[in-house]
Symmetry: C2
Subunit: 225 residues, 2 copies
DNA sequence: CTCAATATTGTCAGATCGACAATTACTGAC
DNA sequence: GTCAGTAATTGTCGATCTGACAATATTGAG
C-alpha cells in the first residue's frame, strides 16, 4: 500500500526567461523549502484529473487553457521521508504568461522562478524535485523540436516573432528570424493566420492562432547538425 | 492508499515480425486472457528495480542484457476491477531474439506474439493493456528515429543489414540499403566495427557492436518529408 | 521627410535526401 | 576453374533543405 501523488512542473516564458512555478512548503517535511506544486490522487479521479485539479487549486487555471501531459513516475523508496511510501506521477504543463488568480491561495506561496536560477542556484529543493525539474526541462526542450506545443507558451493570438522568442528562450539559443519564419509557416496546420496585425515598433507582423497540427513535419532541430 | 504495480512491454524482432511478450493470466481477474507481464512493487525497491525483478521472474533475463526504460503511468480508477485501486507504471523493454530460459516458469504461459496480431486481432486483452501496448508500440517506433536503442534488438555483434531489418520490421516500411548504411555509419559513436565479417549468401558484411552514442544526430526519420 | 525598428522575402553555397545504378566480394552449382 | 546468384558497399544525380546573410517592405517617432 502506497500513496500516489501528482506533481506539476508548470512552465512559462516571462521576463525573457524560461520560468517554472515553485511553491514554498508550509509544513513538514521540508517546511520552507522550494518544491513543485502537487498533491495526492483522490479515490474517484484518474491521474490526468488529479493533475488538472491540483493545477486549478494552485493557480486557479483550467487545464483547458494550457498544455498538460504526463512526464513520468518517480518512486524511489526514500524519496519522501514520511513513513508511508509515496509514488509521484509528474505532469508537465506549458502555459502563456498569465496572471495567477489564486497564487498563494493554498496557504503556500507560489511564484515563478527562472529555471536557470532553480537548477543552477543554491536553493535547497524539497524531495527529489530537483531531479524532476531537470527531467521536465529536458523534455520541454525536446518537445519543441517535434511537436507544436511551443504555441502553448504564447497568447491566443501571436506573431511569429513571439513564437521565435519562446524557442530562443527555452533553448537558450539565437535563431535567424527569416529562416524561422519560413520554417514555421511551411508546416501544414501549425499556424493559422487571423488576418490581424500587430502594431508595435517596426513593420506590423501578421498574427496567428494555433492550428490543428500536433507534430512538426519536418522537425525544428536545435542541435548544430 | 493504492497498490502500485509495474507492467512490462517487452519487444523483440523475430520471424520477420515486431513481437511483444504476452502472458496468459492464470487467475482472476481476467483468467485466461492475454496480458502484459508485471507485478506489484515491493516495499524496499524502486520502480526500475521492480521492473527488472519482474522481467527476471518472467523471462529469466537480466536487465543488463537489454534496454529497459519507463514508458508512463496508468491510473484510471476502474482500470483494475479488484477492490484496491492499482496504479501501474509501465516499462518498455527492447531485446534481441533470445530463447527465454524460464518461459512459463511462473505458472503463466509466456509467449511472443506479433504486435499486429495483438492489436489487430480479435483477442481479448486484460485490463487496459491494449491501450498500453498501443502507446508502447508508438513510443518504440519513435525512439528508433532519435535514439540508438534500435541496436538493442540486435545480437551483440551484427551487420548493418540486421539493423536495417529491425528498422524495416518495426516501422513496417522498406528502407534503401545503401542510404541506410551511409546514414548509420555516419553517426558518430553509433556503431563500432569489430573487424569481423559475416559469411552467408552474398558479399560479407562488416560486423559492428553498439557504440557509446545514445542519441542520433542527425535523426533517422520514418516520415516521407 | 528621414530614420530606426522589425517583418518578410530573396539569394546562394553547402549539406542532405531519396532513388537508383555500379561495383565489389563472396557462395554454391556446374 | 567459371558462372550465376546474392548481398554489401560506393557512386551519382537532381530535388530539397539548411544556415548565413542581404534586400526589401511597412510601420511609428522625431
Amino acid at each position: 500500500m502506497m500513496s500516489v501523488a501528482v506533481d506539476l512542473a508548470v512552465f512559462t516564458v516571462r521576463d525573457d526567461a524560461f520560468a517554472i512555478l515553485m511553491i514554498e512548503r508550509g509544513q513538514e517535511p521540508f517546511r520552507g523549502r522550494l518544491a513543485l506544486p502537487g498533491g495526492f490522487v483522490e479515490a474517484d479521479e484518474n491521474l490526468d484529473q488529479a493533475a488538472a485539479r491540483e493545477l486549478h487549486e494552485e493557480t486557479g487555471l483550467d487545464a483547458a487553457d494550457l498544455h498538460l501531459e504526463q512526464l513520468r513516475a518517480y518512486g524511489d523508496p526514500d524519496r519522501d521521508p514520511r513513513p508511508t511510501r509515496v509514488v509521484s506521477i509528474c505532469y508537465l504543463a506549458l502555459m502563456p504568461d498569465l496572471p495567477l488568480p489564486t497564487a498563494g491561495g493554498d496557504a503556500r506561496a507560489a511564484r515563478w522562478m527562472a529555471v536557470d536560477d532553480v537548477l543552477g542556484g543554491p536553493a535547497e529543493i524539497a524531495f527529489d524535485h530537483r531531479r524532476i525539474i531537470g527531467d521536465a526541462v529536458e523534455r520541454a526542450r525536446g518537445m519543441l523540436e517535434h511537436s507544436t506545443v511551443g504555441t502553448a507558451f504564447c497568447a491566443d493570438q501571436f506573431a511569429i516573432s513571439d513564437l521565435r522568442r519562446v524557442y530562443e528562450i527555452v533553448w537558450g539559443r539565437r535563431l535567424d528570424p527569416g529562416n524561422f519564419s519560413r520554417k514555421v509557416t511551411g508546416v501544414d496546420g501549425f499556424l493559422v493566420p487571423t488576418g490581424e496585425f500587430s502594431r508595435d515598433g517596426g513593420r506590423p507582423a501578421a498574427l496567428y492562432r494555433r492550428g490543428p497540427a500536433t507534430t512538426l513535419h519536418p522537425p525544428l532541430l536545435r542541435s548544430t547538425r
